[in-house]
């Protein structure tokens, strides 16, 4: 991941920037309205998301970039049914599924709230990174005088 950031740094103009969007390691949730059905079982995704966060930190530590701005937001996908969300997660996520307990609780929430659509909500971080380049300070007179 740091290699990808390093490669991007080589492609971006000195006045340009890199934008990184990736889910945080916070649990993805199934909700009905604002009521929580439970977490999505995401297998190893939490570790991958944390690795992305770590890669940005490493790139900053290695002085490839500075983080100029960062914020987080909720990203929700709504389905008509829980089965539709289950299929979406199966098709579009690297791994993950709605487990039985979360599914049953969300079904109960839907029965109690007719007309509501279930959703899966992820917490996403976005960073703006500026590339850093070596700066060469002019030699000081003390060092240049013989």
């Amino acid at each position: 991941m740091v290699d990808a950031l390093r490669r991007a740094r080589g492609l971006v103009a000195p006045t340009g920037c890199v934008i990184d969007l990736h889910p945080t390691s916070a649990a993805a949730l199934i909700l009905v309205g604002d009521a929580i059905g439970g977490p999505v079982d995401t297998g190893g995704a939490k570790g991958r998301h944390q690795a992305a966060t770590d890669a940005v930190a490493a790139a900053v530590r290695d002085r490839l970039f500075t983080v100029d701005d960062t914020t987080e937001f909720d990203f929700s996908v709504y389905g008509d049914t829980l089965d539709e969300l289950q299929q979406h997660i199966h098709d579009d996520w690297c791994e993950g599924h709605i487990g039985d307990v979360t599914f049953a609780k969300a079904q109960a929430l839907l029965r109690a709230s007719p007309g509501r659509r279930p959703r899966v909500r992820e917490r996403v971080v976005i960073n703006r990174l500026f590339p850093t380049f070596p700066t060469f300070a002019p030699p000081t007179p003390a060092l240049t005088q013989t």
Partner: protein, 94 residues
């Protein structure tokens, strides 16, 4: 109804905070998938190169956004001149 992605437009707001205007910018999107994020700025950028190793995703993006230079390649195999991009976006792909 079908699946509805981010109807609150939170992703667009966050991207707009980071890049207030894409006008005149040369953009590279890494891990573009089928172009959900690409569609947020493709009409305003000066040029867009969108890459993803999945051929089927690139085919879908090309169908939706024919003006985008979509390539089925990862960043490690991308051949571009150094410093030729204004904004590189890792689209949920780090």
């Amino acid at each position: 109804m079908a699946l509805l992605e981010d109807p609150e437009h939170n992703e667009w707001r966050a991207l707009s905070r980071m890049v207030p205007s894409f006008a005149g910018l040369r953009v590279l999107e890494i891990g573009c998938g089928d172009g959900r994020v690409t569609g947020l700025y493709a009409n305003s950028a000066a040029s867009v190169i969108a890459i993803d190793p999945k051929t089927e995703s690139i085919d879908a993006l090309r169908a939706e956004w024919p003006a985008v230079d979509a390539r089925a390649v990862g960043i490690e195999g991308l051949d571009l001149p150094a410093h030729s991009i204004d904004v590189a976006i890792f689209s949920w792909s780090l």
